[in-house]
């Protein structure tokens, strides 16, 4: 369960990235977050795993006030939240398996992490999820030898290997060939349905959001301007969401 209460983020340079967000997301939902770039989608996702600290209000994930966490407790929280980046953010000089195993680092004592002494279960999980994203045969291939789509699948497997309560995906298809969007979103959707894990995906392509999500959150200039089932998102409304931002540009 995610609860944001009067959530606001102002960056040190004075930009108001988020303003007065109130939202509640139940466990197991698949939510699309839409809006133009710069509308606050990314910042919203990043507050949910503590990569960005709220400057106002609070956000609770599974009952934990994320903004108050720091140090060890923040690490313990983060290992339960998978994050998928637009630019994959893999360590390209390591193999696919090594990268997926990184998802287990949060569960290991630091010294074992340093030496790369993962347990049997960690290896089993990593292999399972590599298989789930269809890359079982690539586990010993260095990531810089993989295609963009394959790299993003490795990143998804890394998030799954965390066995998270929540998966956040920040424009996971934006750096990829548009034809791969269905592969990526399909993986996330299947995962959501099979494991009942909440998934939030930032998408700026409205069409994709309509196709995959039940619920849509729309941001415009840092404000939550729409929150509801995808059916209620009429063309007019969508136009307002995007057009308003254009005027601001």
């Amino acid at each position: 369960m995610i609860e944001a209460h009067d959530l606001g983020v102002t960056f040190p340079n004075g930009t108001e990235a988020l303003k007065g967000i109130n939202v509640k997301i139940d466990d197991g939902e698949f939510v699309a977050v839409i809006g133009l770039s710069g509308a606050g989608k990314s910042t919203f996702l990043r507050t949910l795993n503590g990569l960005v600290k709220p400057t106002q209000g609070a956000v609770r994930v599974g009952g934990v006030d994320v903004g108050r966490l720091s140090g060890r407790s923040l690490q313990r929280f983060r290992r339960t939240v998978g994050f998928i980046f637009q630019q994959f953010n893999l360590v390209t000089r390591l193999t696919a398996l090594d990268n997926v195993l990184h998802g287990r680092l949060g569960y290991l004592p630091t010294w074992r992490g340093l030496l790369g002494l993962y347990g049997e279960r960690d290896y089993a999980l990593a292999r399972t999820y590599l298989e789930e994203v269809g890359l079982a045969d690539k586990q010993h291939v260095r990531v810089d030898a993989l295609s963009g789509g394959q790299q993003q699948r490795v990143a998804i497997a890394r998030a799954m290997a965390q066995e998270p309560q929540l998966v956040l995906a920040d424009e996971p298809m934006a750096s990829l060939d548009p034809r791969l969007s269905d592969v990526i979103l399909g993986l996330l959707k299947d995962y959501n349905e099979a494991h009942g894990v909440t998934v939030l995906v930032n998408i700026h392509v409205l069409e994709l959001a309509r196709r995959y999500a039940r619920r849509v959150l729309a941001f415009n200039q840092g404000r939550l301007v729409f929150d509801g089932p995808v059916e209620e998102l009429t063309d007019e409304l969508a136009e307002q969401i995007y057009a308003g931002s254009l005027e601001a540009l």
């Binding site: 795993n49 990569l51 923040l74 690490q75 313990r76 929280f77 983060r78 290992r79 339960t80 939240v81 998978g82 994050f83 980046f85 630019q87 994959f88 953010n89 893999l90 360590v91 000089r93 390591l94 990184h102 998802g103 680092l105 949060g106 630091t110 992490g113 340093l114 990143a155 890394r158 965390q162």
Partner: protein, 536 residues
Amino acid sequence: MTWLFPLLGFLVAALAALSRSSARRYLYAGGIALLVAFFTFPFSSAIGYLSREAVYPTPAGLLPSWAPLGLIALAGLLAVLPLAPRLQGLLGTIGGVVVLLVSYSWLAQPVFLAKIVPLPGLTEAAIAFLAGGLLFLMLRERSLALALVVGLVVAGGSFTLLNGPVGHTYFPRLEGYYKLIRPLPAEESEHLIREYNQGLAKTNALREEIGLKLLKPIESLADLEGGVPKDLAAEGVRLVRPSSLRYGTTAVLFLAGLLLASSLFLMRNPELVEAGDRVSGLTAAAVFLILVPSFYATEFSLGRLVEGWPFFVNFLDRSWPPNLADPAHNIFPLQEVASQMALTVEIALVGTFLAMLFAIPSSFLAARNLTRGSAFTRTVFTLTRAFYNIDRGIDTLILALIFVAAVGLGPFAGVLAMAIHSIADLGKLYSEAIENVERGPIEALEAVGASGTNVVRWAILPQVLPLFVAYTLYRFEINFRVSIVLGFVGAGGIGFFIQNAMASGQYDQMIIGIIAIVIVVNLIDFGSSWLRSKLV
């Protein structure tokens, strides 16, 4: 040979003009540099009784003695006026010719007696103004008010310091450094000659006693050997010899040639101008003004090279053919070179390895992106960087001299020196590699809940490790060349062999060492750059 200098200036400007680059730039450069040289470069010698009493007056300082020198400044000034190119060229041509005429007729002036008039505070003010001005220019971008205040404070402060007892204690020659040269009336010279000739009988009596050559009476000051008598010198009287060249003379002659040629070309083709000529001319002037005194200070002389040529040939003669082995006398230089060369490589290997061992951990403390966290880590960062900067400033050779004194002659001293100096160099390269890593993987590992050390281990280390290896190899290449020279200060290896062979005159053995160095340096450079290209 003085005609060489204007010719050189002429050639520089002519080459520039022929390659269609701006002639006006060199016109400006010549004008600006002439003005600076007029006020700051020594143009002649004025000799006292002791050699340290000699002063080297500038053209400006010589003005009271011979006013035509002022034309040099006038020519420089006219050349920098922003006029139509053709007119500028005309004025520059006249200026160039005038400067040449004035300079050569000054060189032909007779020797004369003059009194020096120190201008106290002038040099001090110039230095202080320069320091303040430089700071002003550096800070101007940030804030004009701050730059003004800092510039004024520094200028004022350094002037008070330099012009006070402190400055005159530490820099005794600074007080009244800038001098005017005022000629003495003709009677004084005649008086001096008369007095000299009168005292000659007494001097010659003394000289005869100790068996020295007798001196003849003199007719003019030019015949006066050495300088002026002791008591006169103490009163500030000097003997000015216009024919003696100082670097100011060289510079003025060179610049006159430059001015003349660039002006002629500009007159012929007024198109030879570019937009930023004045600024680029200033840059060119700065280059000339720095290079001319530097050549003079290093006693650069083609003549001496020609004179020394036979010795060079003799040296080569005696080193060829190389004496590879002489079993009759039980000398095996080639084998000796091989083992000393191996030692040189080993010194470089151990020195670089030790440096790497210390540089890797310390470089993480010197990476800005890893130490932003708290005040403590920022302090560690500053301290590590400060250590690097100081260490980088102390050359391996100097450290080797210290360690030779501490642990004795031999390769160990060299290894220690090399290791300590290379820590800074490697550490700085490593930390820059760390600062340039991709942010993405760091963020990703923070997002999975990995601890700080695990982020370093899994997100940063894999990215920087290949670079670390490449930098280490690169440093090894440098260290190998350093380790050759280390032998000369007694730290063992091939340098030691060469020094010994040279000191004992066995040039035919030394040459083997030199050839070996050429071969091994190239082998190592080639091998290491091949390895590096495989890595990155």
